[in-house]
Symmetry: C2
Subunit: 355 residues, 2 copies
Amino acid sequence: MIFLLYGCANVCAIKKHTAMSRATIKDVAQLAQVSTTTVSHVVNNTRAVNPATRARVLGAMSTLGYQPNILARSLRKGVTKTIGLIVPDASNPFFAEVARKIEDLGFKQGYSVILCNSDNDPIKQTSYINTLLAKRVDGVIFISSDSAPSDLSRLVDNHIPLVVADRDVSLEFADVVLLDNERAGYEATRHLLELGHRNIACITGPYDLSPSMQRMEGFKRCLSEFGIQFQPQLIQTGDFSIQSGKVATLRLLSAGPKPTAIFALNDMMAIGAMSAVNQAGLSIPGDMSLIGFDNIELAGMVTPSLTTVAQPIPEIARQATSLLIERLAGTRNGSNQKVILSAELLLRDSTARLE
Amino acid sequence: MIFLLYGCANVCAIKKHTAMSRATIKDVAQLAQVSTTTVSHVVNNTRAVNPATRARVLGAMSTLGYQPNILARSLRKGVTKTIGLIVPDASNPFFAEVARKIEDLGFKQGYSVILCNSDNDPIKQTSYINTLLAKRVDGVIFISSDSAPSDLSRLVDNHIPLVVADRDVSLEFADVVLLDNERAGYEATRHLLELGHRNIACITGPYDLSPSMQRMEGFKRCLSEFGIQFQPQLIQTGDFSIQSGKVATLRLLSAGPKPTAIFALNDMMAIGAMSAVNQAGLSIPGDMSLIGFDNIELAGMVTPSLTTVAQPIPEIARQATSLLIERLAGTRNGSNQKVILSAELLLRDSTARLE
DNA sequence: CTGAAAGCGCTTACAG
DNA sequence: CTGAAAGCGCTTACAG
């Protein structure tokens, strides 16, 4: 790749930093001939101020381009109006969609969110917990990258409200919003069995994560209720990435009993599976039925469109956000809540009756 | 959708907030029998401290679970080690990938990034600029949601270094990293023309955004160099979303001159186009060639795999981040830089010779 | 309706 | 090698 650098000294000379720095409340007070107390009260609308005085203050603020320093305010008030959001990887569409929604909802209530990608790395996860602690976020929404995150207790020790979402971690002191993954896994499997499939492969996520584990349990329970023998050779472990879904599928196609259907435990792996199946010259759903999980936007757009178990993504975000903000606002105290949402089978074009 | 609420008063009773709040530097100093000055110096490794003293301080820190309050530090030092990143929509994979990379690079250099989704909404964009100003970020990386963002000047007025990426905005006081979009648009078009296509449709982004505009210019220039008449009926405007690509394609297929190839100005719209073409019972590339733009991870995974103009996403992130951090670190002063990266045509399976 | 002053938790120039 | 004290920019109880 080539890249060009243009210096542009003439048009784009940067302004020299002048000695004068940003306007503070003091500058405003001086210009408006009032105390900083009064300025503060007009900025925050927190006590009655004579209309004429208020007008003077407002004028001074605007001529100075005054923007209150949030750091100082937060330090003084002990509240930052900021929440931390830790996700495994925001470039995965499922987390991206959840994060977007949380950001939206937070924004509407006056909270900014600091988005942290733990990158499925416990070290980075710990490091981010420390950063959030140091930045004095008011609360944290947490989607774990592992099953037993160690440093979460430090949040609790510091009285920082915590909401655990999507992936269950055995933690006593948090509100929790999860999916009924076992049942969802069961439904997906039943759909395939009812279509006549008997050799059903499953591409899982990391074995220790609760969504993967529980969906698998539903898968197994359903097989057993239908009297079908569970075949370990039809199970492949992925990591929820497209690429891993592709690799897993190539392995399934190259050895062992031939599946006629694949249950991928998320849509991204299903899309990877699709690519592998096509590459092998097989067609979906003619030669292979495929069902995903999540219902990311893409699932409806690939060809054939993907049958999937739809997670209520907006509802997950809404519950997580309001659980947290209720705590922060003090409108809810006492015992923790556990919200279990249910998924919904969404029939599209990637599954068909076994001929 | 059904959701269940379990109260769990027994196991999960939340700890009452005790009167004792978080440990401060004063608490540490007291416990270690030293001044706060000394504690500060051991925390920051900023002057020699007697080994025995240092050990006492370290001990006190750990028994108190001390975490320095970054707000106080930032207020005092006038530096927050935080950068603001404004993107139109981080649930769009292109921006998600750029953002991920910037976050990674920033993290390695000790910066956190505040991610702001302007949502293609100038109002929200302005509001975020104010928030970033109030939070006293050290610098901003900006991908605009419109062609003439109004409040960007406030950053410059406040001496906050600014890097504009991806979408050009006519602004004098910023470092800039862009793509050579005109040439990239030209190359994509030439590829289709060389395959024998003459009726080439183009699905654009919002007309006023520089990437869309410039890629179109390359498209037109190439047509004209090949002596092909430009047909306005073959141009459809999208908004870079999957859905808009689908809608645009359905319109193209339902009326006007029939194209044999489509140039979508990003991959997401190309994926939408793919869905529409398939839905119409046409095959890619047999009946319709299709080329995208960006090379998001997905582009290689759909079927057929998508021929596209690959943007050097990691390099864009790297340039933007280092341009900004150099300014912040003071290792670069003076005139602004303009980095123009070039794209690369990536041939895959969605384009073919016109029979 | 308004203001003087303390204090949030740090860092750092100054002094020893 | 160490400490006393000022000050970053706000908010707010207290007083008038």
